[in-house]
Symmetry: C2
Subunit: 214 residues, 2 copies
Amino acid sequence: MPAIKSRRAPTKGDQREQALVDAARAVFREKSIAQVTIDELAGAAGIARSGFYFYFESKQALLAALVDQNLAEADLEMAEWLAADGIDRDALRRGLTAGLARWKADGRWLREAFITPDPGPEVKHVRDRLIDQGCTLFSKRIERDAQAGRTVPGPPDLIAKMAVNLRSITFADAYANPGAHNEDELLDTLTDAILRLVYGVTPAAYDEDAPTAA
Amino acid sequence: MPAIKSRRAPTKGDQREQALVDAARAVFREKSIAQVTIDELAGAAGIARSGFYFYFESKQALLAALVDQNLAEADLEMAEWLAADGIDRDALRRGLTAGLARWKADGRWLREAFITPDPGPEVKHVRDRLIDQGCTLFSKRIERDAQAGRTVPGPPDLIAKMAVNLRSITFADAYANPGAHNEDELLDTLTDAILRLVYGVTPAAYDEDAPTAA
DNA sequence: AGCTTTCTCAACACCGTGTCGAAAATTCAC
DNA sequence: GTGAATTTTCGACACGGTGTTGAGAAAGCT
């Protein structure tokens, strides 16, 4: 699985593997992961149940692969704001908008992968890497801003984790209760909430990009 | 099961039922709920596996009962602050401290009951009631404060839900990574984070109980 | 005591998981 | 193309946990 697998044309098996991942993404949209049987997954990819084990060790391993393929996608969303300087509410809101869209589509399994406390070792490993990465980037941005003079109310890593968690859980909640809130309102509220959480600023302060005062 | 069960001495069966709940609380501390077998639960309460089904329909039903018994406990924690007026940081912090203590002890199953997206119908029902109740109370407090002149940055119910979720997920995280942060620091940060989230105030404003300005 | 309700548990059927090994399909070298 | 090597497929099996049933033991009541 590590380095050796590199140079080779996409053989039949590779296609099947990808078919399995794609099938999983589709099937996991419909029912909770626990309810999905391996038989179902295999069937959706056009192979027999026992054939599944040729490609993945377990349902969790397949989910881990699925999560892994979403890594790049998720990163990109926030990249703009994370790289930016100052508050830049617009960039943040754009990132959150993209995230919400992704969750609206794949929320069902995203929840189970990112929110569930104990999703099994394979998934846990991949997702922890992903989360850590997100938190670290966030944390760095906070520190950067702190050095630029903007007050940050607490340990950057803790604040970053809270912000990241607030984001996921709000998206998860939005998926679970689709009609509960107007989408724009939710995004605005979340954007402001994060800014308030991280910088302690109120909407009035957004325009003035001047750091300085406490 | 509903109303009729009321007036009666605690018969043998009632004791067993409670023993089962207590046993579950203990067992669920050690391993994740999915890993615990009904056989184990029954054994811990001193009965045969098949006897379990006389008392509960499933593992989830037992967990639901366990969650239900914690209702009162959890309510009480936040009651003081929820009933108070003004910011009252101290009361909030006391409540959060109690919550963290509870999560430190029972975090394992609390996570699985309150964080897991799809914990089965029985648990979902109980916990949703509990969460709704918490959010409503919180929301009411926000509205009350808004009328008293304190600015609230967004729809009260949304803000309340965010605050409640932030609380749970921070506790869950604290349980999962015990040594990651100093406990006092975590509580202070969380307290301030919630106040910032809900009222947009910074620590400086805590003492002055004067509402007014934006 | 007798009768009724409550409780207990062994035996059973069921379903999903994961393993194995033999056969079929594919790929590769010539 | 042809044959050997490799990859892929799948039926059959063993295992473990769930939930049900029905007969009988224990507890509660008068």
